[in-house]
Symmetry: C2
């Protein structure tokens, strides 16, 4: 067998075990009876160990070296080779003992984070976090980097991402979005949320609305499912079996609908993957930033637009006739776009969200570089909230202890959330050039043309290119904050009649 | 590492992949979106191939040979060794090409069976069945046997089963049950089924009834689930994650309840496995016959008893108040025990069911021995139905084409259904000796003592002993048809006032 075919055959088996892992993971969150947790952990550990053995097999190293000397590979083959090399290197560069120690410390550290958060006492988490920071620095050293240590961690979540690439993006946001939020706060206007707050929103209606909207956007329920889970996510096995979840709150009907649109966006991306590249790395979705661009596109760029609110209003009225009486599309639009600085990232609106991320990014960057240490964290956090959002957390639970990510060492993950927001605006701006009727189409619920554009320019391209190159190919420009800033400025002006 | 520990570590991984396979298989029947079927087959094929590679690893052969020379093993270790040897031999004795060819022919043959059945034309299936019979004879030769070829196939579904052991069981049934059925038919009485036939039975009530009864019997829903599927089954991963299904019919409310009790019986057996033997072969349930004894116990021995009907009547009344008005426990008992010879095995009652199985067993025995060939099958089938059930199938669909089993070569499987019925009666007869109040307990819905007896004498014993030895240990006698015949004779006399 040719070396390339042999590599592809091995990668197919690795993809299959990861498909199985995806399904088993989904089941754990959605279906598993409570007593099954212990043995489920054994199953997942077997899957992860076996997958690790398969990707670190020395034969893969030999095949890669062999193929890397060839110059007759086409774009897809080159993409597969690049991605396989990345996976192989990331898996082999970390010593087995280090991986085991890290996994053990992740479990321990998540426990102390949970306790610290409940007790509002950073000191409970302090030592475990200090060790986790050290281990992540060590991890970066094992993985290697050209410029900054933090780059090695960023690269884990979006291939090719570096501080040199991210810094200008956040600079653009800091200069433009922070003043915008300040202007809204100073104006002090708040939309009328009485129709939301005064009602108890039943689950049946929310489910029907969520299903109807997801179907309208184009999610294929013959190749996927919608279920409920405590933490909404999109998972499953493969493009024919995409499973997303949402959750329902009696007091907040927007959570389930916009959560559904968010996960539907992730799901559409998975369903749109290039099927001629099944089981190949180049056929996978392209990292967390691009994935988030697809969820944010439908959740925010589409779902929180004035036009979408016009289209969706009759569905709200159908499923909640009593509650929606007298509520106009404009009321709905203002309600789903409430801009209000708050302490909590996961509850933040479109305007303030990226400031939450920027704060985490700046802290992580300095932390991994050794410019600040664990004991500087709590106050550094509060100071930046005061500087950029104008509010100071009254305690650690609402401050530095709010996110779980650092407790399992996911330094470098947060920026992909903001990349997603920027990419979504940049992609929609590009799509609008060939879809001049976009706003009208949204108003009529014609989501097909926009989806088709994303299918062609994003989904079908898999991971053939690095994420930044994919964005440039699709939009004509490298990743930039400009489209997002323009979009947000325009929107906030229309909503709050302010400029900044 | 000691050879025994090394073998156990390998068997643990083999068990884990089989747990994962169980979960993925369950998902396929219950949750999977339709378009996912193709890639799901790839996942399952990877799981089965990998599991096969793990059990046929030559290191397992070395460890087995090493350990088989030791004489210091305790009962459990000896059981593990015996079972591991069986699995290893069964997996290694069949040449890989043969296994592949058989799998391919199974798919082909199931298709032609489906077509033949739909067209009521045996000739469509004839050639594929002929080849399947040949392949199963060949399979038996690969596996090896002492006395008869068919023994090698029987042994696949219940360890140690042979024609020499099965023949006397069916002889006892043929001599005693066939005349009993004849007497009922000649008497020509039929219970009043109007309350069943005249109503449309809603799914919600059936679900609530099924859930309530399964909980009352003792199924732990914190370690398992109930769902709906086209073909009811009990599956899942392990004793902490046991998943059974049922189906609902508007015209037949007994199907879901008795199906639920059947699968609950399977599920209780799985939940009762010895937890100190997790991941070990000796900790598994003990073959298909014993498994069926546990399902039949709760479905028939308990569920179709007069006392159970008294206990369950108020639940029927609670969930179907209108339909159950004026229906007494006696009416219910007679309705769930309708004895009536029919063409179709899966719809057969307790009295006639084993005659359906006996016919298949006698045909398989002669077929694998080469005493009859494929072209003799259709008439041999019809002749035996006429002889033992007094009815002659009017076509092939109701005759030789009714079961799917032969199309995938499952010769030797059918007898385990009857073994289950015999074992269930024999086990209950033994349990009654220490549970003198059994009937009263059933009347009061006190199922704990009977379950506790089964837990101790059957479930907790795993597969430490061969199935026949387990039955003898639990009941004091080797497997026999006597308890079942006594039970059935007594019941039919009470129901139909006939003797035979």
């Amino acid at each position: 067998m040719d070396a390339y075919d042999e590599l592809m055959a091995r990668l197919k088996d690795i993809d299959l075990i990861s498909q199985v892992g995806g399904l088993v993971g989904w089941d754990q969150e959605v279906m598993m009876p409570p007593k099954a947790a212990g043995l489920r952990a054994e199953q997942l550990s077997w899957i992860s160990r076996t997958g690790h053995e398969m990707i670190t097999d020395s034969r893969i190293g030999e095949l890669l070296s062999d193929l890397e000397s060839r110059d007759d590979l086409d774009e897809i083959q080159a993409g597969n080779l690049r991605l396989a090399r990345e996976s192989y290197d990331k898996a082999t560069k970390l010593p087995t003992e280090f991986v085991g120690e890290l996994a053990k410390h992740q479990s321990k550290s998540q426990v102390s984070w949970t306790e610290a958060r409940a007790a509002d006492d950073f000191s409970i988490f302090r030592d475990d976090l200090a060790k986790m920071i050290d281990m992540c620095r060590q991890k970066a050293d094992y993985l290697g980097y050209e410029d900054l240590r933090y780059d090695a961690l960023l690269d884990l979540y979006e291939s090719g991402l570096t501080v040199a690439r991210v810094d200008p993006l956040f600079a653009g946001l800091r200069e433009n979005v922070a003043p915008l939020v300040k202007a809204v706060v100073e104006r002090g206007e708040r939309p009328d949320m009485a129709f939301v707050d005064d009602n108890k929103w039943g689950q049946t209606g929310q489910e029907a609305l969520s299903q109807a909207v997801s179907e309208a956007i184009g999610f294929d329920f013959k190749a996927g499912r919608r279920d409920a889970s405590t933490h909404p996510f999109c998972g499953g096995s493969n493009p024919d079996d995409v499973r997303w979840t949402t959750r329902y709150s009696e007091t907040d009907p927007f959570g389930s609908l916009y959560g559904s649109m968010h996960e539907t966006g992730h799901g559409l991306y998975e369903q749109g993957r290039p099927r001629n590249l099944d089981f190949q790395p180049a056929g996978q979705a392209n990292g967390l930033g691009v994935h988030e661009s697809q969820s944010r596109l439908w959740e925010n760029q589409v779902g929180r637009s004035r036009e979408f609110c016009e289209w969706v209003l009759p569905l709200w009225q159908e499923h909640f006739p009593d509650f929606m009486e007298g509520v106009s599309a404009d009321d709905l639009w203002r309600a789903v776009n409430l801009v209000e600085p708050s302490m909590i990232r996961v509850e933040a609106d479109e305007a303030t969200y990226n400031l939450h991320i920027m704060i985490r990014y700046e802290i992580e960057k300095r932390l991994i570089a050794g410019e600040i240490e664990v004991d500087d964290l709590p106050d550094a956090w509060d100071d930046m909230y005061e500087e950029f959002l104008g509010i100071r957390p009254p305690n650690r639970t609402l401050g530095v202890l709010q996110d779980i990510h650092w407790s399992f060492g996911a330094f470098g993950y947060f920026p992909t959330y903001t990349l997603g927001n920027l990419y979504s605006a940049q992609l929609l701006e590009a799509a609008r050039k060939v879809l001049p009727d976009h706003d009208e189409q949204m108003r009529r619920g014609e989501f097909g043309p926009l989806l088709a554009w994303m299918r062609e320019h994003v989904h079908a391209r898999g991971s053939i290119l690095e994420p930044a190159a994919l964005i440039e190919e699709a939009t004509g420009s490298p990743p930039s904050p400009d489209a997002f800033v323009t979009y947000l400025r325009d929107k906030v002006e229309r909503l709050y009649n302010v400029t900044a």
